[in-house]
Point group: D2
Chain length 358, copies 4
Amino acid sequence: MAGNSFGSTFRITSFGESHGEAVGVVIDGCPPGIEISVEEIQAEIDRRRTGQSDLTTPRAEKDIIHILSGYFESRTTGTPVALVAYNEDVRSEDYLNMKDKYRPSHADFTYDAKYGFRDWRGSGRASARETLARVAAGAIAQKYLKQQGIEVVSSVQSVGDIEAELDVENMTRSDVEANEVRCADQEKAQEMATLIREVRDDDDSIGGVIQTVVRGVPAGIGDPVFDKLEADLAKAMLSINATKGFEIGSGFSGTKMRGSQHNDEFTEENGKIKVVSNNAGGVIGGISSGADVVFRTAFKPVSTIGKKQNTVTTEGELTELEAEGRHDPCVLPRAVPIVDAMTAIVIMDHILRQKTIS
Amino acid sequence: MAGNSFGSTFRITSFGESHGEAVGVVIDGCPPGIEISVEEIQAEIDRRRTGQSDLTTPRAEKDIIHILSGYFESRTTGTPVALVAYNEDVRSEDYLNMKDKYRPSHADFTYDAKYGFRDWRGSGRASARETLARVAAGAIAQKYLKQQGIEVVSSVQSVGDIEAELDVENMTRSDVEANEVRCADQEKAQEMATLIREVRDDDDSIGGVIQTVVRGVPAGIGDPVFDKLEADLAKAMLSINATKGFEIGSGFSGTKMRGSQHNDEFTEENGKIKVVSNNAGGVIGGISSGADVVFRTAFKPVSTIGKKQNTVTTEGELTELEAEGRHDPCVLPRAVPIVDAMTAIVIMDHILRQKTIS
Amino acid sequence: MAGNSFGSTFRITSFGESHGEAVGVVIDGCPPGIEISVEEIQAEIDRRRTGQSDLTTPRAEKDIIHILSGYFESRTTGTPVALVAYNEDVRSEDYLNMKDKYRPSHADFTYDAKYGFRDWRGSGRASARETLARVAAGAIAQKYLKQQGIEVVSSVQSVGDIEAELDVENMTRSDVEANEVRCADQEKAQEMATLIREVRDDDDSIGGVIQTVVRGVPAGIGDPVFDKLEADLAKAMLSINATKGFEIGSGFSGTKMRGSQHNDEFTEENGKIKVVSNNAGGVIGGISSGADVVFRTAFKPVSTIGKKQNTVTTEGELTELEAEGRHDPCVLPRAVPIVDAMTAIVIMDHILRQKTIS
Amino acid sequence: MAGNSFGSTFRITSFGESHGEAVGVVIDGCPPGIEISVEEIQAEIDRRRTGQSDLTTPRAEKDIIHILSGYFESRTTGTPVALVAYNEDVRSEDYLNMKDKYRPSHADFTYDAKYGFRDWRGSGRASARETLARVAAGAIAQKYLKQQGIEVVSSVQSVGDIEAELDVENMTRSDVEANEVRCADQEKAQEMATLIREVRDDDDSIGGVIQTVVRGVPAGIGDPVFDKLEADLAKAMLSINATKGFEIGSGFSGTKMRGSQHNDEFTEENGKIKVVSNNAGGVIGGISSGADVVFRTAFKPVSTIGKKQNTVTTEGELTELEAEGRHDPCVLPRAVPIVDAMTAIVIMDHILRQKTIS
């Protein structure tokens, strides 16, 4: 069983290589009657697009999304929705010098180890361009969730050592979109931008953390014991290129607390049971509690850098490499919409799943 | 689709409540011909058992594992392997005072929200007793992996603020089993034990981190783009009770590094390509690199504590609760075999999956 | 991926060998709140039990069903329901002479070809005893369906050349249970019984056909293009031991008709659209039409017979075999509850699936 | 969970409507390194194409297949293979008169019942045009199987009352392609063609049966107890438009036989165990025996006919309908490549699955 599908009820299947004909996604299990325009999907795609600012790679894909199926008179029909973007600004020659040299910490080597050979053009399937498919599917999920009063907001939390102070409860999509870094803390965003430019000018790269909040999730979704909501979110996040960690609620820092501090007491408000604090991050025992779902995802620095590095050829001979091609010095700004998309897909999937038992 | 199965080729289905008749697991896709004795499985179960030391709950389950199927003449047969442990030392009356009061940060409330009602005896399905099923299945996976030269070693890394210094490359299962905390750093283990006893005597609980290394994983396993090896490990870990975080390789700390520091250069040794450093934690682009797979899992403090807490009744009325029942002040020592088991299940599953494409 | 699970939302996983410890089933995705007693499940098991009459094998299993999990205060809880029957009247010595000789048309040979070896006692996993697990799960499905006004009635349609005249629209479970053959045509049932006794006395076996009707299925269930209702029913039926064919509605005879004869015209009755005829067998384009779902399943004669046959040893040497052991001369009477069970499982699964899109 | 994916290891996901942008398929789990040209895929597509002869609908789609991903330097890469054909000769206006009238025995009504509304143009998702996706995926499966020495040959067995005499053991793809009916019995093929023309000229349609043989399947594939080889074949066949029945080996006629006649004795030939007869149709207990896999699939007459019929409007009012549009009077000739494709997909899937246990 291969690994290019995700979700059990709202199920996406991703396909495509960076420099092949197209990247795309098929959504099976999309309920009928969701009203959405191609422009609404395109808007999410555009958030992930390259060339938005000087912080991102200059590869200038237009990334026009096309709806091939499952769509009629402005609504989803309940049959599979296929979304595709054809590859256009392809410069495979940039990759010729990396065809026979393994980039350190890049998937060139492991793809060869797994499949015996690989489409080396533009990183092939391992390219972050694949995430375009997720963003397209996520746009539909976000539209569906919005109609249920659920919204997903992700913001850059840190870049390198620069840590934002995020008002997680109140930050909005507009706060995030107000700057090129996609950090809801406008001041820190400027510092982050400066750091990213420094790193870029140094032919290097830098990592960071994205924080996500999902508001309006009803109590009761998530499927123990394996498909706990946090487990599926963790998988979703760790399936995104360059991620190395995930924590929900108190996360790693919560491990230092006592139960008496960490426990979220229950109280009652307007006839509804709710938690006073939210160290749990909105999920208890794998099931949503009705509180905001809050989690963080760690992104390592991009592996493809212009700086000279030691490596080996595909034949195992020692060599050096200065990567060409057009790459982001920091993936965080463009990763925000990907995190939003994968989050929405997980939440929507579990909302649909819950319908089968209630 | 419910969530009680895990894995795609080596696929386990868990069942059972804490105070029901039994907990157990069915493994479908277990290859034929694995030689294993019931005692070998029991040995892993015993590592997870209660009452091993004064650091764990005094509930004294014997947890005898029975093989019901898929096993003949000391070998697995290729048909489903059902493993079951009958519940014995059940004292449901301990839970009577929690039947109508929601324990803070416990799944009582969310199970009611999801299913409409719940088996409240001994935490029902949300009890960590469920993980016994995972440990049983994991014992078979570990035996299989051992025959392929792969070993999984997990150790407690921290309890509260006490951080062990682990020699991740060399630590052994014996180092871990040498003390009641299951921490391969023998000195810190003593400090941790002292802390856990303090916390216990204070009717409180404490969290911590477990670090895991898997040695001998061949390059090439893991299934991008969604079933990346780290994604499935993250899901496996976040599906364990009380976990709040997962990081692989450099994890969250790697987000502060530059690409030029973080990248693991390739070199050649005896005709084999390998990495010089291992910030990746053994996985590049979702596929194993042949280096050790190294990750950490965060556990929050146990929610059920003896200390008085504010909460609500199932009817939503404010009340107070001092939990009775027999609970661990710190889950870490008993969580080590669970982490080992889930890790082995993920690795074995991906090794079998790789056979379909090679 | 192994093949011991069936269904996508109401999903059963079967385990167990004929002469191992137990046979059983885990149901994942069973909705909470289904009221059912263990006696109701036992009643279905008893319909499948051996030794009911002199038409069936004298192996006298009591087949006591136990509910191990997912059940509290007489209701399903929404967590996995494990049902198990321990093997008791086991006489493995009867199989010693077949341990090293392949029974013609029996799975001994193919199990060896697949797995390398097999549990030869009592046919192991290939024994029809496995279907007990399906009947147990099907009892819950039938209870659920009944509450939705849906009923499944299967009747023996033919044994050898003897063909019943079934009033498919009106036949009831009581009609079927009124004779030992389980044929709703009481007269033909007697002829069938006579034939089965003749065949039995001749150390031989005989096949037949079962016809099934499902009444009350709402229009709209079934999931094109692959999980069409008839496709899942066909798979369910062909997964039962000894089946060789499936047809729905007009089936093979419909291939001889013109479209103008075969088409079922639509009409209107009390504001509801319905079909005038039902050559479709209740399913159009893979989706239920609201009409009765009607299909037939073909069972070959049982392969294990007392008559002398030519065969080979497991080493490939020519030999002869007169099978011992206790076997049914005709599986049809005991297959009726199995067909009912698998039918109910398919229908319930699709009803739950439909909830995710409406 | 929706139903547009099929297979577990070689897994296809189909998408597309008849008059939407495109129909296509994504194959996940396709092994790397299969050499195949786009022309080889196109050749299979062309067998299914309309307008091949006057026996088929005059809709003259060119059906050009495009490979969008998972393909590099003439080989599959192991990543998802997306194949797509854009819809061109679309005349949606032909369907305007059926937009508000339910065609008898057509899925218009049931799609509305299921999804609430539908893309009515050209039958939308229920159009047989969807099977193009299957044929494309099946072309790759057939290429893979050929390299393993396995071939699939399907032939029309009957049209209406005209029954061919097929030499199942020896019939070839060339025999089948030698006439426009795709029947390996050249004489009967002429009679069938005559009948189809008569039926066509009468604005009516006619059904028939296709027989399939798969040669070279190794003993040991198929996954009991639910994913038996015949169960997956039955599902595959019943998922094809207009099918109403499936039988393997002796099928329905075998139900009239005694076990002593029906059993296939084992013998030995050149050190290999094999069956003397093949009433089983190549599958025993759900697992291939090494003998030819032989089965038959029943197709009803096409529902869309020019003849006047009674029906209702979407509002439930009684009306009459004379269907326009361009339709096949008999689907059999064009269904042969679809049956070949689905058969190859099932066999390939099970061959890959078998690798995980051996």
